[in-house]
Point group: C2
Chain length 156, copies 2
């Protein structure tokens, strides 16, 4: 609770419309939040990708559980790249995120769309569909990282 | 929200679920994963608690969105406290987590149960029910932190 009450105090006014208007008390909070989301996304996507690649035995139920988590969490990072969150904690976010906000938004939307396709594929239980969708998600990860993620942390 | 329901069914009984047997390549991966989950949980719980405390205007839709995320993510940390994950990255996890595993498991289950109550309350749109459930979740956070979370990081 000690860690939670300051957060409660710090939470700013939320707009009427959902997560997209989420506000953070400090840039550091937004940076840590989006990094946390990416950590979980990488893990849960990795578990499904390992099945698609034959590195782990395919289990349709487990795949769908993981894509369900991935789907929920994939919607979170885009809420945490507001103006002024380019520094405040170590971050690999490139200035291009804010310089070319429309392109970044498109990349984020591409990612969530590909994740939604993967979740649909996983729920179908069809491994070939999952393999194809894993490729789509992986491509969206790479595309965004290439353009908007630096090799090293900075801004801390 | 339909993506969440299979997860609930699967993770309700720790030990029997596939998520609970999630494996991590390195202890560091498990530590970072569970910390990421707690970061998101603190944030999304904080947003609802702020409404319950009147610090932010109550918006039933936003509250339910946040508890939906919280519900999904609250199921994750318990999967990442396997044997050997007491060190490998800076962590505040106390040795008692593994020494008194039954008590820790009970605390984790208490938390997820309280979060489920909060999600139900949020979906009802009843602010009084949300206030009561926020108290329950907050108490479960504090109880577990008091017993199982150290003041400082160690083990990195």
């Amino acid at each position: 609770m000690k860690a939670i009450f300051p957060l409660i105090l710090a939470v700013g006014a939320l707009g009427a419309s959902s997560m997209a208007s989420a506000q953070f008390a400090k840039p550091e909070d937004a940076i840590k939040y989006r990094q946390a989301a990416f950590t979980l996304m990488g893990n849960h996507f990795g578990r499904v990708a390992a099945m698609a690649q034959g590195k782990v035995a395919f289990d349709a139920k487990v795949a769908a559980e993981n894509t369900g988590v991935l789907l929920t969490v994939s919607r979170l990072p885009a809420t945490a790249f507001g103006e002024g969150t380019d520094k405040g904690a170590p971050t690999r976010a490139k200035p291009e995120i804010w310089k070319d906000a429309a392109k970044f938004k498109a990349a984020a939307e591409k990612m969530t769309a590909e994740v939604a396709k993967l979740d649909t594929a996983a729920k179908s239980g069809n491994l070939d569909a999952i393999k194809a969708a894993v490729g789509g998600v992986g491509g969206s990860c790479k595309g965004c990282h290439d353009d908007f993620r630096a090799e090293r942390h900075s801004g801390g």
